[in-house]
Homo-oligomer: 201 residues x 2
């Protein structure tokens, strides 16, 4: 197969995995269900991935790449606007389907039992932390952000968002995302921005 074919197959399998997770949840997800979503045979799926775990690790990596593609950051953008946008994207989506997030929480709860999941989830988290810390660092350099600790602030922001999304799923509480987002925006304005007006500069 050509590289283009492999890439197209990979994309098709990843999208099928997403749909299968939404439909079956994590615990009941099978290679057969994913194969059915691709319209390919189970054997074809196993040609690419030995086990369901291998496939799901690739899927976690795919989620990170998709996120990067969606939030293309330009260096000439205002870091304040950038941080606001990215936090909102992280709180509310991009994949704001409850069924999908329900499956993701189950998968994450299995990380203590799977070195492969945990390693990939740590990679995703480190990249996300570095992305936020990078924006914060640039904001400090450009004198639009206060002199906060970039890594500590990034870890704090990601923890708040993680908790809001976990509670959204566990408690089935749709208000929690809006409430936490409002408070996060206030936090940005008062604890991070030098000047609230920086947002509309």
């Amino acid at each position: 197969m050509s590289e283009g074919d492999t890439e197209a197959a990979h994309e098709a399998i990843m999208q099928a995995t997403y749909r299968a997770l939404c439909e079956h949840g994590y615990a009941d997800l099978t290679m057969k269900a994913i194969a059915e979503e691709t319209g390919k045979s189970k054997a074809t799926l196993h040609y690419y991935y030995d086990t369901k775990q291998d496939l799901l690790v690739a899927f976690l990596e795919y989620l990170l790449e998709s996120f990067h593609e969606k939030v293309q950051l330009r260096d000439d953008e205002n870091p304040a606007a950038q941080l606001t946008t990215i936090l909102e994207k992280l709180v509310f989506g991009p994949d704001d389907y409850k069924a999908f997030q329900t499956a993701m929480l189950e998968l994450r709860s299995q990380a203590p039992y799977s070195d492969a999941y945990r390693a990939q989830l740590r990679d995703n988290d480190q990249e996300l932390t570095a992305l936020l810390a990078g924006i914060i660092e640039r904001g400090i350099e450009e004198d639009v952000f206060q002199d906060v600790d970039p890594d500590r602030t990034a870890t704090y922001l990601l923890s708040t968002i993680d908790g809001a999304r976990t509670r959204w799923i566990v408690l089935d509480d749709d208000d929690v995302l809006t409430t936490v987002n409002e408070e996060l925006q206030d936090y940005l304005a008062e604890r991070i921005l030098v000047d609230e007006q920086a947002l509309i500069k």
Copy 2:
């Protein structure tokens, strides 16, 4: 059986459930394993609880009661000191055994599939939110806290703590609790307290 006997049996079963969750995790937890921890027969356990789910709902309720017992709040205490103490307790413990929190995350990830779990987790969460909001309200009345929205602030604080604890388990990252706690203390000082000195008043 006398009421005292029933209470003692309840306490023994709850403590056995705690130990069994630490040892077996959530997915592999059985009534048999819990019975073995109590030293009672499985039949005795079923006399009190029809199903594992019934038992675990009672256990979630027990956790909430234990927390209340541990954080007995006195109305004449400084609300600033009270809030600091309770947030630290929530971030770091009281049951800071990773094995137990690993099992709890699995149980919580099943809430979307279990009305009984979800209802009890919502009860626990509402009580905790009300507890924090109550302290914040009292702090505002006593002019030691800024005029924040008590419910919104409580939801925000609990989300941050939830996220820190979830990341601690999922990413196996021991630093996250300390990092988030530091930032939370700064948040208290700058966004909630009227005067940082209020803490040592």
